[in-house]
């Protein structure tokens, strides 16, 4: 066991998780604070016969992984705010063409060049709505390296299951912090492989005809089935169409395949919710000081609890409603101007009980900060 303990950065934990999940093609472009993912993979991918491709820009890196996914590979790119903006059109392409891929965004301060070496959680809504057009998307996050590893593996599994891009939304603190990672044993975490068609050569294969269970088996480029892939609305052959019924059906399919499976996609952790009168909801690095504060105040008898979200999108509104049903106060701790708090307000019965505790200056929010917010919310003064 001790041989499997590593002391590393969150970015490296992500790269290790990706390798565990079977990543064999990565394409990226240098950007702070995600660069270590590319560096780690440029060293370790070729050791297992995989490919590391440094493209001329962020857009090209996103496009290249889509191309490599179509030949049957597990693919990933990693970036940060400005690069995530640049990738949005191609992310939309992967949504429309239903290409499994994983996109890591290690968040830094924005907008624009912003605060490159400092933490932020300002891209939560961009992960959901960054590309144009109606669609749905899966976004996962994590607050510690063990979970970064696990969520990265999950991201690959969900990308294959739902034939969709999955966003891994980490942040600068988690990405650059060093802590322990216990490497899971082989087979300890189940892996989802590519679902390939069993259509024989010469039999018509429809790349965009869902099976009864909603999944769409794929066929690798270079294999025996030749078909068209496009970012236009398309029919079951993958050929462009603007027929209203085909457009409506595909749009619904792209949204429903994710929104109808919120329950299966939702990952979360809960701490002390059983008796909590005040429930904190947090995610990513902000969940760490929140948990610290919750535990230290519980020792003084305060009935506080924490719901840590790991799936941000599709938003687990049902989970929030259920867990927060008896809470007097619901406090969302996040490092932005209030992106998840809006979703929480829409999810719960009494939105007037929902408050935001945030920090937006590039520094990690502290237990003292959160405690101050709580005192104000409780009417006890700062």
């Amino acid at each position: 066991m001790s041989n499997n303990i590593k002391f590393l950065q969150g970015n490296e934990a992500c790269a290790e998780g990706a390798l565990y999940a079977g990543l064999d093609f990565f394409s990226g472009y240098p950007i702070t604070p995600s660069t270590e993912i590319a560096e780690h993979l440029s060293i370790n991918l070729p050791k297992v016969g995989g490919k590391y491709l440094q493209m001329e820009d962020e857009i090209g890196a996103m496009c290249a992984i889509i191309g490599a996914s179509l030949t049957g590979h597990k693919v990933m790119t990693a970036t940060s705010g400005p690069g995530f903006s640049l990738k949005q059109e191609a992310i939309g392409y992967a949504v429309m063409a239903e290409i499994p891929c994983v996109v890591v965004n290690v968040q830094r301060g924005g907008p624009s060049t912003g605060n490159p070496t400092h933490v932020s959680q300002g891209d939560v809504n961009q992960a959901r709505w960054g590309t144009h057009g109606d669609h749905s998307i899966i976004t996962l996050t994590a607050s510690n390296h063990q979970d970064v590893f696990a969520m990265t593996v999950e991201a690959f599994n969900l990308a294959e299951t739902y034939r969709t891009p999955v966003i891994l939304l980490f942040d600068e603190v988690v990405g650059h912090m060093r802590e322990k990672l216990v490497m899971p044993e082989q087979d300890e975490i189940p892996l989802v492989g590519r679902l390939r068609t069993d259509c024989k050569e010469g039999v018509d294969y429809h790349p965009y005809l869902p099976r009864e269970d909603g999944r769409l088996p794929m066929s690798d480029f270079g294999g025996s089935h030749r078909y068209n892939v496009t970012g236009l609305y398309h029919d079951m052959w993958g050929f462009p169409t603007d027929k209203p019924e085909a457009v409506r059906e595909l749009c619904r399919h792209l949204v429903d395949k994710i929104e109808n499976n919120v329950h299966s996609i939702t990952r979360f952790k809960e701490y002390y919710l059983d008796d909590a009168r005040t429930i904190f909801i947090s995610y990513g690095s902000a969940a760490r000081p929140t948990l610290h504060m919750v535990e230290s105040r519980r020792r003084r008898g305060e009935r506080l609890g924490l719901l840590e979200l790991q799936t941000l999108w599709p938003f687990p509104a049902g989970l929030i409603r259920e867990k927060c049903a008896d809470a007097r106060y619901i406090v969302v701790v996040e490092m932005n101007m209030g992106q998840i708090v809006r979703e929480v307000k829409m999810a719960v019965k009494s939105p007037e009980n929902v408050f935001l505790a945030n920090r937006i200056d590039g520094e990690l929010i502290t237990p003292v900060d959160i405690r101050k917010f709580l005192r104000i919310i409780q009417g006890k003064g700062a």
Binding site: A64, G67, T71
Partner: protein
Amino acid sequence: MEDKNYIRERFFPHIWCPGCGHGIVLNNLLRAIEQLKLKKNEIVMTSGIGCSSRISGYVDFHTLHTIHGRALAFATGVKLSRPELKLIVPMGDGDALAIGGNHFIHAARRNIDITAIIMNNRIYGMTGGQFSPLSGYGTRATTAPYTNIDHDFDVVELAKAAGASFVARTTTYHVKEMADILKQAILHKGFSAVEVMSQCPTYFGRKNRLGDAVDMMEHYKNSTVRVGSKKIEKNPDLIERGVFVEKESPEYCSEYDKIIQKAMGTSA
């Protein structure tokens, strides 16, 4: 000629206007592929957005119709992940050299084994006739109503400077030459860039009073010469056609295989 075998008839008729040069390019590309006896399953055609990019839908290969300007980036991912596949990337001049200019020069620099075909009709046709980076100074377009003050550049010179190991130019008039050049380009190991001057009578021709498709093709006949021709000394305005660069140069995917060997500790 068994062109029909390579065509997805189900998806016809095509979108191109009467007189468009792109059909001639498609015809000669399929001719080249047939003469090379390539298997359909080993060809991946990747394209971006524009009239020319619709070629990919019409042919019975693995086809990837992507986003504007990025076809070469997608193709790079396909090629590096499965180097045994043949990558053919038809692009328009705007697609390849305006929005996609960066990918073009870097694919050339990397010398990855992809065949890029730039179907240069000097206009954005699909959106209705706006000037492109190759329209040239003094031309007219729907967005250059008072004439165009943007200078064009020479695709061949750009590709050469960027490091492409095969560079050629031909026109839709010179069909035999086009098929031969495309064959050479596909066979070449490394990045090959082929500019095909292709007429757009609907927009570029009409806006610039160049006559119909036949007139425009006749102009290709009269305004171009084979590379190295003496005629160009008397008339420097003539445009050269033919193969400008064909050199052996380390190919990206082969080089990456060496990286894998180094990383695995199995290289000599």
